[in-house]
Symmetry: C2
Subunit: 374 residues, 2 copies
């Protein structure tokens, strides 16, 4: 039973785009931040090939915004993430891991600075607003924390810029990676960021008005027609190849930011006050015992995965495969795994226990593109 | 598209019982607290009739526990809920609404006191652990907050006590409503509470060991065979008839505890320190403007619902239907709604705009059993 039915209700929130998503033939959803997130349209492999070739529009409304506004917004934003936000000026985005006092991951959002005293954290699948508000309340900070109704729509794929330029004008071409601009769409101002959960390039548009969003989606589809635009969603093959980690799948509440391989986004040498930064500094000194890595898994296509698979090395378990799938382009199974550090040398041979039996596997670099010539 | 497919992954956590649930023929799931929750086995109506007649075992692992342990556990527990916990002695359970400083609902868990300095909040669908830990951290409280792996299994239905007695001995018969005992199962101590999300009576067993849980489920099924035990899950018809509110469906982050009709569980006159209690005291004085109520909706069976339906009274919108379904026993549509207080007199006629058209409806009391003789 790889895909049972999903009972949809008010609690598994629909989005302003759900009607169009269903008219476009969505086959399956997951639930993310208490909200519907499409997972397949024409099939994961067909969606993958199309995403790499053309352009897609994604309903990623489930990337909810946690908004901090007020005199203490900057202080709270920095407390919440171990990423140094001092260089996060207005118009910039930053991948900003949130950890607890033990360095364990609570979320891995993108932070946006909208104004001197106004931030958004565009979150992965956990109720960051409760963590932020609880800390703010306990510390008596002068900041408002809320989760406004903002439904991001992504345009992703090699043709994304041309499509976005037809909708917003050539000004979108000037938006740099991980920057955003406020652009006008039929007189309504929208935040447009050059971000997105793929390695194919594109934009995320933060829709804060349902009717405007519906009109925007229609216009994107019309503008994209010459580019073979199609409906899409974060793609499991593409994102594993790109090494994009999924919170809840590859990294969890039981992993530290360093174990998640997010050291580059943890400003451990910065003189900042951030929850959990001391724990990560201690962990850096002591050394981590496990870390996210890439695996190439031998054999025919792996079966659909719903739980982690054991990784072993002769003597016993040395980790878990957290996400694995067949790559129709690389013609091998690609996977993300959490493996003990003694076994992380590139090329190390390991054994993966999939539901259909044991397979040999090799540790590799992510992203995967260059790794298949092992 | 009432029931699309659900993509299952590590993030939509399976439970120790998922294999057995699927072998038993689960038809659909929802995702609740990032975890699979079955919604249908033989069909909602057949499940309903069976639940009222016999006995069912439910995988309600998604009722996660937020555990508070330490010198400040009692203080934090009371801060978190507007229910007076001073009478919550060891062995007792209490329905304990959690609100923010504006009185708006964050969750409506059941609190259990396990020891002088140890509490569980058995939660509805939001990450209460983050709210609890954030407040504790900000206030500098000496308390540990965590979400242990405990997977509740419920036995519900008129024959539940006889089945539980065969598994745990006649001692279970002495457990009073909303009390729990620690009982031995094959030498393993388990918390067994006389609680559950139905009005049919029964128990919830807090399984803290996956292997023990699997053995327990098997033993319950064997003990229950003479009672026609079957697999089940919280049932949409039964719980609406009983007036059991679903957080995220009937009551949300946008409703206060008083608007949710939970005044009886808000100890507004108690001399306690609780987040949001002052806001609720003010609201009690000022009066609420909307409240949860029951509706009987005329006509044939209503279609499956995925979003709220508008409720109107001549001049315009006066509320929303949050959960509606056909009752095969009462032979009418029963619904829970959030309606402006001017329209809450029992018998008031309103109009419900369902996807298939407008229908007349009448305000009624919940639970529904006595209300159909209007």
């Amino acid at each position: 039973m790889n895909a049972p039915l999903l009972s949809v209700s008010r609690r598994t929130r629909s989005t302003p785009f759900s009607g169009r998503v269903e008219a476009a033939g969505v086959r399956a959803y997951t639930v993310y931040n208490h909200m519907l997130l499409p997972t397949t349209f024409r099939g994961v492999e067909e969606d993958y090939l199309h995403l790499r070739r053309a352009v897609q529009v994604w309903d990623v409304s489930c990337e909810r915004q946690v908004e901090l506004v007020g005199p203490d917004a900057a202080r709270l934003a920095q407390l919440l993430t171990v990423r140094d936000l001092r260089s996060l000026t207005i118009g910039r985005c930053a991948y900003a891991p949130i950890v607890d006092d033990d360095g364990l991951l609570i979320n891995d959002p993108i932070a946006l600075r909208l104004a001197e005293d106004r931030y958004w954290f565009s979150i992965a699948d956990s109720d960051v607003a409760l963590w932020a508000a609880g800390n703010a309340r306990g510390l008596g900070l002068n900041v408002s924390v809320r989760e406004p109704d903002v439904w991001p729509l992504a345009i992703q794929g090699p043709e994304a810029e041309d499509v976005a330029a037809l909708v917003f004008g050539d000004v979108v071409r000037t938006i740099k990676f991980f920057r955003f601009a406020e652009l006008s769409f039929h007189g309504h101002s929208l935040i447009v960021a050059r971000t997105g959960w793929s390695a194919q390039g594109g934009f995320e548009i933060y829709v804060d008005d349902a009717e405007v969003g519906a009109a925007l989606l229609d216009e994107i589809m019309i503008a994209g027609a010459p580019f073979d635009i199609g409906p899409g969603c974060p793609n499991q093959i593409e994102r594993i190849e790109a090494g994009l980690l999924s919170y809840g799948n590859d990294i969890t509440r039981a992993d530290t930011a360093l174990e998640a391989g997010l050291g580059n986004y943890c400003s451990l040498d910065a003189p900042i006050e951030a929850i959990g930064i001391d724990a990560l500094r201690r962990e850096r000194t002591a050394g981590i015992t496990k870390r996210v890595c890439g695996l190439l898994i031998d054999g025919e296509r792996v079966p659909a995965q719903r739980d982690p698979w054991m990784v072993s090395a002769g003597s016993g378990s040395v980790g878990i495969v957290t996400s694995a799938i067949w790559s129709p382009r690389l013609l091998t199974n690609v996977a993300l795994a959490m493996v003990n550090v003694e076994h992380l040398t590139i090329g190390t041979e390991l054994v993966v226990t999939a539901p259909d039996g044991d397979r040999s596997a090799h540790v590799t670099n992510v992203p995967f593109d260059g790794a298949v010539q092992r």
